[in-house]
């Protein structure tokens, strides 16, 4: 078994809209080791979900992967047909907790039946077998098995999100991608769900990609963090590097923008302006129109990802001198 369960190499996924080409993911590379939790952070529209859809071969039209490779457990998924992806990869190797999935459960079926469906279709289980597995799964996410007979509208937000997590675990995948899994939840339930993901990750040795715009949430789980801006990874490193020693001005700004429970409160910090239109991104460093530290060269030339040692990468001209 390779140590790396997922390899993404120079991925480019674009949307070919009538108004132009949206370069949603524009040359992204990373690796995910077995049992590792990678957090992908960045504002709305930076391409986080598109990376996830690319891995599962579910990029919605008018989007498609234009170049790059994705290897799951050594299999090049970017070369597989949709039928092969369904048979070999989705649910079994990689499953996804979609953004907003808890509100997309089918209202007319019990949640037990909805999990059973996954087991029957994708694992060919018999009704009896599937039912037993449903109970196991519900218990593993901290729900009583009687929940199986309930309809989504009878459940609280936290319970629905647990059902969605149970579904993602149904076929024992190696990798779970969780796209904004707590964004719609209140703080207490959010903390409960993050604890659950943490427990499942440890018990099952899962590799997780946790996607969210909230670096506070990512710190609860991630070993490694990739910060995205306008379709590119602008900083990548261990949690310690990213939170204690951030190098990219965008990462620093994101961290300062988090409202805190402790420390000084006199000044509210934010990132002025908004993320660029990815049909027509700014020249040079894409962050330059919002960057407090931008200088002449930033507008003209795009900074590469500089290697600052120990796998800490940052795409900012200011880091050029520290690069190894």
């Amino acid at each position: 078994m390779p140590e790396e369960v997922l390899v993404v190499e120079n991925l480019k996924t674009y949307y070919f809209t009538l108004k132009g080409v949206v370069k949603a993911v524009d040359g992204v590379s990373f690796k995910l080791r077995r049992g590792e939790v990678l957090g992908i952070a960045g504002e709305s529209g930076s391409g986080k979900s598109t990376i996830a859809w690319s891995i599962l071969g579910l990029v919605p039209p008018p989007g498609r992967i234009v170049s790059g490779r994705i290897l799951v457990d050594g299999i090049e998924v970017t070369a597989l047909s949709d039928a092969e992806l369904r048979r070999k990869v989705r649910w079994k190797k990689v499953s996804m907790i979609f953004q907003g999935a808890m509100n997309a459960l089918t209202p007319v079926y019990t949640v037990g039946r909805q999990i059973e469906e996954v087991l029957r279709i994708h694992a060919g289980m018999s009704g009896r077998e599937a039912r037993r597995r449903v109970y196991e799964l519900l218990e593993s996410v901290g729900l009583h098995k009687s929940i199986a007979d309930r309809y989504p509208h009878e459940l609280s937000g936290g319970q629905k999100q647990r059902v969605v997590i149970a579904m993602a675990l149904a076929l024992e995948p190696d990798i779970v991608i969780a796209d904004e899994p707590t964004t719609a939840l209140d703080v207490v339930v959010q903390a409960q769900i993050l604890n659950l993901l943490k427990r499942l990750q440890r018990e099952k040795g899962l590799s997780i990609i946790l996607i969210t715009h909230d670096l506070g949430v990512i710190a609860e789980l991630a070993d490694t963090v990739a910060v995205m801006y306008a379709g590119k990874i602008v900083e990548y490193g261990s949690s310690e590097d990213i939170y204690r020693n951030p190098k990219h001005p965008y990462t620093k700004a994101l961290l300062r923008a988090i409202p805190r429970l402790r420390g000084p409160v006199d000044k509210l910090i934010y990132i002025p302006g908004q993320p660029p239109d990815l049909r027509n991104p700014p020249s040079g460093c894409r962050f330059h129109p919002r960057c407090p530290e931008a200088f002449e060269r930033c507008r003209l030339r795009e900074p590469p990802l500089f290697n600052l040692g120990n796998g800490h990468l940052s795409a900012c001209w200011l880091n050029e001198g520290e690069a190894s």
């Binding site: 939790v37 504002e43 709305s44 609280s156 937000g157 936290g158 319970q159 209140d186 703080v187 207490v188 339930v189 959010q190 903390a191 409960q192 993050l194 604890n195 943490k198 427990r199 715009h213 909230d214 670096l215 506070g216 949430v217 710190a219 609860e220 789980l221 991630a222 070993d223 261990s238 949690s239 310690e240 990213i242 939170y243 204690r244 700004a253 994101l254 961290l255 923008a257 988090i258 409202p259 805190r260 429970l261 402790r262 409160v265 509210l268 910090i269 934010y270 990132i271 002025p272 908004q274």
Partner: protein, 363 residues
Amino acid sequence: MEGGEVILDVRDLRVWFPLRKSIVELVTFKPRRYVRAVDGVSFTVRRGEVFCLVGESGCGKTTTGKAILRLVEATGGSILFKPKREVLRELEASGVEVSDGYVDLLKVPRRKFKPLRRELQIIYQDPYGSLNPRFTIKRILEDPLIVHKIGDRREREEMVAKMLEAVKLTPASDFMERYPHQLSGGQRQRVAIARAFILNPSLVVADEPVSMLDVSIRAEILELLLDFRNKLGTSFIFITHDLAVARYICDRIAVMYLGKIVEMGDARRIIERPIHPYTKALVAAVPEPDPENRKRFRELRIKGEVPSAAAIPPGCRFHPRCVEFEEDYDRLKAKCPVEEPPLKRPLEAEEGRRVACWRYITW
């Protein structure tokens, strides 16, 4: 801002929504059941103060805000409000009962409420749903002026342009003719703020105005609200489920649980030293950007989730989720599951702190 006069005095506000009766209930003549969304809430807001309502979904925050604007009908209680002098005169002239500069909003007949709409405004959580998608930004902002017969065409346009500048949608001419869907979430929320302030209201209910926005732009919107407060002396009821946000913007906090205020007081002191077990749980749940957090489970001293407001537990309504009740069971068993705790100042707490918990008040 603490010295300002009280402009809003809510007393024992109740908003109960009747539940549809089931067949069995109909034929057995069972009494009607209610969703007790707001169940006896009292607080005051001073001029220029940002007063926060904090709590999880379903605790009655939005309903409290809407009841003040008469967007839902209150079941009981009173809401004394002190409008600006010219509005007060208008109300008096139309025969509305005024006492000492205050009107009871719940007693103003609907058809006489219109002048008060200028004074009371709301900003909703969802910048996508709260703006009419068929109207241009100019029309959205001009509408309240037309309704309240303010200014002529040119003056209104000038006011709209000024307002767009005030919310930093500049140059204003770039935004006037656009539609909501052509704006980002943050820009739409600015339009909603501009619309709320264009009539220069005395009180604005801001209902989770940043929770649907990216963390990176939240602070900018909060700063904008504080700007209005500082320039115009507007009072706010700021609704949020995030105590970290509350800490930046609020002067005082009321923590709501299932239709009741369980703790109230100075915002920073409550966050530094919460007393009620529910407030403690809310504080403990806020994620912090600390990489050490991933190495441990977050300790949550609270059980389960908020139950339905149609089935409020007896006694202290928090008791089925309360860890401290269990820890101090022998002393509290005669109280917590039986009798509702009053909102009182605990012995050792500072001036202004109120807590509804048998464990911390004297009895």
